[in-house]
Structures are given as C-alpha cells and as structure tokens.
Symmetry: C2
Subunit: 195 residues, 2 copies
DNA sequence: ACGTCTCCATACTTCTGAGTATGGTAAATG
DNA sequence: CATTTACCATACTCAGAAGTATGGAGACGT
C-alpha cells in the first residue's frame, strides 16, 4: 500500500487536484487575480498544454479550487471548533485559530479582497453565514437571547474580518508576541463577557 | 465672482482635477483595477489623447487621485469628528458616519480590497494609523489608560473594517432599518462602555 | 491676421494573458 | 508488437489595455 499510494509529489503526471491545490497556494500568496494559467504551469513544472487538458478554462479551475477550499473550511469548522464543548472556549479558539491553518486562512483573506468577483461573491456569503451561525450558536449556548447572540456574533465576526484586514496592511503586532497576546486577551474579554 | 468661478461641469475643457475626481468615482464603484484610461475617457466624454496630455501615465493619475482623497479624508477627520467635544459622542459618530459621505467611504472600502497594490499600501497604512490614533485619543479622554485605550482603538477599528467587508458581501442589514439600528446600538454599547 | 499654446481625436504599436491547434512521448492494453 | 490513451510541449491566434505619434481645432495675445 505504501508504495501504491506513494507521495503525490513523486508522481510523474499531474492530476486536476494538484492544479487546484497549487491554485489555492497562489491565491493565498497573491490573490485570485494572480492565478494565471502560464504562471501556474511554470510552478507545476509544465506548460499550458497540460493545464488545458485537465480543465476547460481558467474559470473552471477557479470553480473547482473554490469548491475544494469551501469543503475543507466546512469540515474544519465542524471538527476543529465543533469538538469543543465549552462555548466560551470555542469562541476563544476561533480567534486563536488565526495562527494555525495558515494556508486556508490566507486563502480566505485573499478571497475577501476579491468580494466583487462573481465566483467568489456567493462563496464568501455562504462561508460568512456559516461561520456567523456557528458563533451565534455558541453565544446562545452561553445564555444570551437570540437577538443578543445574533448581534454579538456579527460584531465578533466583524472584529475578526477587520483583524484580517489590518494584518494585510501590516498594522497588527506580530503573532506570538506579548503585545499580540495582550491585545488578544483584551478582545476576548470585551467580546466574550463572563456573564 | 460667481461668474468667474462658475460650475466646473460647464467648463468646456477638462482639468487634471476633473480626471482625478472621476477616477475616485470609478474607484468607489468598481475598484482601483477598473480605472482604465479609455473607460475613464469615455466617461469624461473625450478620448485617450486628452488624458495623456494631463497625465504622464496611469500611475501618475492614481497617485494624484489618492493624494487628493487622503487630504479630503484627513480634513474630514478633523472637522467632522474633531469638532465634537464629548469623546463618547465622537466615537459614536465615527460609526454612524458610514451612512453619510458615501463617496469617500466607498473609495476607502475599495482601496481596502487592493491593499496589495504598491500605491495603495502605504496610503492605507497612514490612514488606518491616523484614524486609530484619533480613536485611541478619544478613549484616553474617557479615562482609559494608554494600554487599554490602544487596544480598544484597535478593536473598534477592526469592527469598523469588518463591517465594511460584510457590507461589500451584502451580509449587513440595510442602513436605516430598525434591524441596523439595533445592531448599531449593541456595537456602541459593547465597544464604548459607560465606565 | 497670424502664430502659438492648449486641449483633444485618430491611428498606430506593444505587451500580456487566455485560449486553440496540433503534434510528440511514455505507459498501458489488446 | 502495435495501438490507443493520457499527459504534455510548441506555436500559434485573439482581445484588451497602456502608451505613442501626429495632426487638428479653437482660444488668445500681439
């Protein structure tokens, strides 16, 4: 089995999934606009000819890549965050999750910068909706009434999005510094009150 | 005097300022990437030939337009918000300012989506820094110690940026609805505590 | 009246990136 | 062994947008 499966990197030929994965890496690095077929092909060590065998066009690649990312993000929300029973701790880990899962995270950040893109727009809507409901549910479990939970969820997610934005602008203290930790503590204390 | 100044719209020839203004309108509408010379010229009712008389190139136009916008935003911060003596009211009006000043506001929103643009990046840094210091100062006046004021300012501005993002994704209740007002009240109560 | 300066139109060139046409090669398959 | 199939290279076309070259028309001073 070990030999049959092997490492994908050692495969001689490419699969559509490989292209989609590399596209996501590119999106995370330079945004969706930077996903050019020829550049991508160079990174894969091949030429355009290969690409257009696997995909009909660029749009198709983006579609598949985004679907792949959305699925990954969805299970991530369920497993990584859904597993935590204490709602307060669940909310805290939502913020702290920024450090880990860098790729997935940077992809989302890049996608937010392309919210006017026709293929990205509906995706962002679904993802934000899903995450906010998740947060809202946690607040409800803590004991807030529906209205209050809804508002808190929106504010919490806004703070998260704004943090991403400031991060892109290099306006945020470096992760894993004591300055960052102090700020994080403040955020959590403000948005997730004890009662 | 009234005749000498006249309305700019009635002028037979265009000035560089007219181009810069229209560029900002375009940025607000479709983002900085959409600022194409020929499209802009069509909107002005002329052709490229005119543009390249007023500007050396596209980059130069963007530079001037962004400078113009930054100045406008700076004085706006001083007059509109600096004039309010009560720091709490000053903070509240910062949020509520979203409705008015639509153009300036949408320009900023669009620029945030292009934070990787070499000409936009330093601008965003300056603007965010300036605004956050403004907010920080208000929190300090209320009575928070420097550390606390800094954190609150960052969180407040993050919430603001996140709100812009959600707005772009149509994930926010329509302005001037009672749903929106309820949320706004919640935000203000959470971020600007009474003591 | 004449030349100059300002502002703009037209017709190019250039570049970049998407997409196509076609042919080549290595592995699988009968 | 021969042939198909999967995967990729090469060499095109095509469209959009930036920038250039050049010429024209009106205002304006002298």
């Amino acid at each position: 089995m070990t030999q049959a499966v092997a490492k994908k990197k050692e495969r001689s030929t490419l699969s559509a999934g490989d292209w989609e994965q590399q596209a996501l890496v590119l999106i995370a690095e330079k945004g969706i606009r930077a996903v050019a077929v020829e550049l991508l092909a160079r990174r894969m060590g091949v030429t355009k000819g290969s690409f257009y065998w696997h995909f009909q066009n660029r749009e198709s690649l983006l579609e598949q890549s985004l679907i792949r990312w959305e699925k990954h993000d969805e299970v991530n929300l369920q497993t990584s965050l859904g597993a935590i029973e204490d709602p307060r701790e669940r909310l805290r880990s939502f913020f702290r999750r920024t450090g880990r899962e860098k790729l997935t995270h940077n992809v989302y950040s890049s996608l937010c910068m392309a919210s006017d893109h026709p293929q990205v727009e509906p995706l962002l809507e679904r993802v934000a909706e899903r995450r906010m409901r998740h947060i809202e549910k946690a607040f409800a479990e803590i004991g807030f009434d529906p209205q209050e939970a809804s508002h808190r969820a929106r504010l919490t997610y806004s703070a998260y999005l704004g943090f991403l934005q400031l991060q892109k602008q290099h306006q945020t203290p470096s992760l894993s510094s004591e300055e960052f930790e102090a700020y994080m503590t403040h955020v959590i204390a403000t948005l997730i009150p004890e009662k």
